[in-house]
Chain length 446, copies 2
């Protein structure tokens, strides 16, 4: 078991699991930076009023207090702080706060932990790592980002040891316009009910629509019919029109989604699919909304989600529209490790253990290790001058592939591949390590 | 100003500052991994009873509560959680919790944020990033780690754009044995007073020793005389003996420190210095203790500190002695950015901006950018099909060195170095970017 949690909802990994996680994070970062996204890190806390401004998840926030606050009145009157529950709200705050020092459109990625006080369950943690990309502009935001950003996420996810991934796209204007066209005054309630479709099924959704949104049977059926539409090309639009609902906001949304699906199809066929059941719980999305599917892992839910927001951040007359997606890294890693889908070739970075024949000659072994490190080969001297058999066992236990024996008297300097048992003369100044052995590698168990 | 903080004590960096920070963190990580340290990340929270077990900093802890805890009694009775204030206590908890699954001696590095509720002041934050290395063993820990770990930290710090750094070493056994030899029953009180020497000076320390530790004038003088001793070789031991105090614990400590200084001198001359005023506030150190000096930045205080602990972690009869050091990364970055000592060559990873002549040909520009990225060159298509002058300005504002003009009609594909103005024909499949331009680089202002 590579996953451990002594505190429910707060996962930690063993060293091998952490190597898998770091490999995943490194590859995500590499993709984001190749696409020109700047790294950003925001503080872990935000004033509570900032955190509660958007979304319906206020009850999940962890609030901070100082253990030995000497003046309780002072604490009550100062702005209370809470741990951030996502990276979008802090990013919006950062952008408006530093707008004068940033160049727009501003593209950033952010890989950080977030906290939610909800009841822990399989794949749902109280502390977890997210990897986000967002682009934010001043005033207006070009529409091409609405297909470019999800494609970058697909590219990033495809660099990982995962089954095929694709992103499902919908547009808030489609669902809002459609629901209004059907006769609902408050599309938000309908949206929240439809969001439960995958969990509770159409029958229960229909009942909820009738009880919570006062829908007629015909209205509920229309909403379910919309949610059932999906396609990998622009044909979804005709299916929607065939339902006979007309609304200008619906038309606008359909045109936008057609553009997104067609442009994405030209760049990366099959990566994005239109799926009109995608709703997303958060209030702040105003255009495209995204969820993703990891083939064969439906129970995991969406591992990458997001959308376009036009008014999350604004200062006076200036608004900062944006579009972004977020990968739930911890949930992904937890599944990869928990089902033993991937592991690492060793539990330490060390590629070469330099044996120590007696404590008096430790400086000789340390010098060999330093020579190897200077050539970019992870190396360390053995912890104790035990019998060589015990030193080899030290390497074996950690998966370190090579043990080095420094020259001693007439004995030449030698290196042993402890996997094959092959041992040969070698000079630390020139020995070439096979590139695949230099750093721990990821092993995919399929 | 690359440093910003809208919330006192919670620093954030602008994109250029974050590039500096990431470069620093990448170099630290590279050094730690070359030396075979495994990466580890522990959860951000610990049960309060765990956090308050060691050290005298209980009043600095941030305690968590859930915003909408429905049953206040439930929360009061469950184990309260606090944010960790360092990475040593969580590491000790992790080691004892997972001892059966780890291979000892276990060497790990850990780069994470920590939180302290203290009053913010220059260089002292409420949220900051630490970079720690520790080695922990089961039962006994070989003494060579007491010079190897601080040397690894010096190597890591020397890989950064910093003035010369060296580590000051003392040994708890020296000060405890000496204070006992002088006639104090409780060396801890003396140690805490001596720890203030740099801040308040010898006169005030002397008074405090007399008032708080009931020292005679002669005893106070002896303690100050010990604290004044330092050397880059083993000669400090003779200076201590010349003070005429005899104690077996003192002898043991001197022998250990002589070994540390001499072995370190053989491996990396000048990197470690014996300095007998180094005390360290935390209770859990039992052998070597370390502080560090950044030349020309005395006011910054120690940027890398630590020590050996024999009983921080234990389960039943089994103890887990360890030695570790911690770099205060945020404090260091804050100084580097605040005094404009370093900056980055650009504010985004992008090396090449691919111009877009009209929105209809965006796919052509996107394809060129994708071709460059596939060859490891960070590239993005321009956000809008503005006039080329405006697109070049977009690149210039971010420090992006190259603008690419895709082939159009009879016009060949060209790349322009916007710093020199040089423009030449180029093929995205073969164009070689100068290696120093591929990624943002660090510029040191001396």
């Amino acid at each position: 078991m590579a996953r451990i949690a002594s505190l429910s909802g707060f996962p930690e990994w063993l060293p091998v699991g952490r190597i898998v996680e770091n490999t995943v994070l490194d590859r995500l970062r590499a993709t984001f930076e190749l696409h020109g996204f700047a790294s950003l890190e925001t503080r872990g806390v935000e004033p509570l009023d900032q955190l509660m401004r958007k979304g319906a998840i206020d009850k999940e926030v962890y609030v901070l207090s100082r253990l030995q606050e000497t003046d309780p009145e002072a604490s009550r009157h100062s702005r209370q702080l809470g741990l951030h529950f996502d990276l979008t709200v802090p990013f919006a705050r950062y952008v408006t706060e530093n707008a004068g020092k940033l160049a727009f459109p501003f593209k950033r990625y952010q890989i950080q932990k977030v906290w939610r006080g909800e009841r822990p369950q399989d794949g749902r943690f109280r502390e977890f790592t997210q990897a986000d990309i967002d682009v934010v502009s001043q005033g207006t935001l070009p529409g091409h980002y609405e297909y470019e950003l999800p494609l970058i996420m697909v590219e990033a996810l495809r660099s990982l040891p995962l089954p095929p991934v694709h992103v499902l796209v919908n547009n808030r204007k489609i669902v809002e316009g459609f629901y209004r066209g059907v006769g609902f005054d408050d599309p938000t309630i309908v949206m929240r009910v439809i969001d439960k479709l995958d969990k509770i099924g159409p029958q229960a959704v229909s009942s909820l629509l009738e009880s919570d949104a006062h829908a007629t049977t015909a209205q509920a059926e229309a909403c379910l019919a919309l949610a059932a539409i999906n396609s990998s090309d622009a044909s979804f639009a005709d299916q929607v029109y065939a339902l006979g609902i007309r609304n200008s906001q619906l038309d606008e949304g359909l045109a936008e989604l057609v553009q997104v699906i067609e442009a994405a199809g030209g760049l990366m066929p099959g990566a994005l699919r239109a799926d009109l059941k995608v709703a997303r719980g958060l209030d702040y999305y105003t255009g495209s909304v995204y969820e993703s599917v990891l083939e064969g892992h439906d129970s995991l839910g969406s591992i990458c989600s997001g959308g376009r927001y036009d008014s999350l951040a604004s200062v006076g007359q200036m608004s900062y529209p944006g579009v972004g997606l977020s990968i739930g890294v911890s949930r992904l890693i937890s599944r990869l490790l928990g089902e033993n889908l991937v592991t690492a070739s060793r539990s330490v970075p060390t590629a070469v253990l330099v044996a120590v024949s007696e404590e008096a000659t430790r400086p000789v072994s340390s010098a060999v290790a330093a020579q190897l490190r200077a050539r970019g080969i992870p190396a360390e001297a053995a912890p104790s001058a035990d019998k060589f058999g015990k030193q080899i066992k030290y390497a074996d236990k950690r998966g370190i592939p090579y043990v080095w024996f420094p020259a001693a008297g007439s004995e030449p300097s030698q290196v042993k591949d402890i996997r094959s048992g092959n041992q040969m003369d070698a000079d630390p100044a020139t020995w070439a390590i096979p590139e695949e052995d230099r750093w721990p590698s990821i092993i995919v168990n399929v």
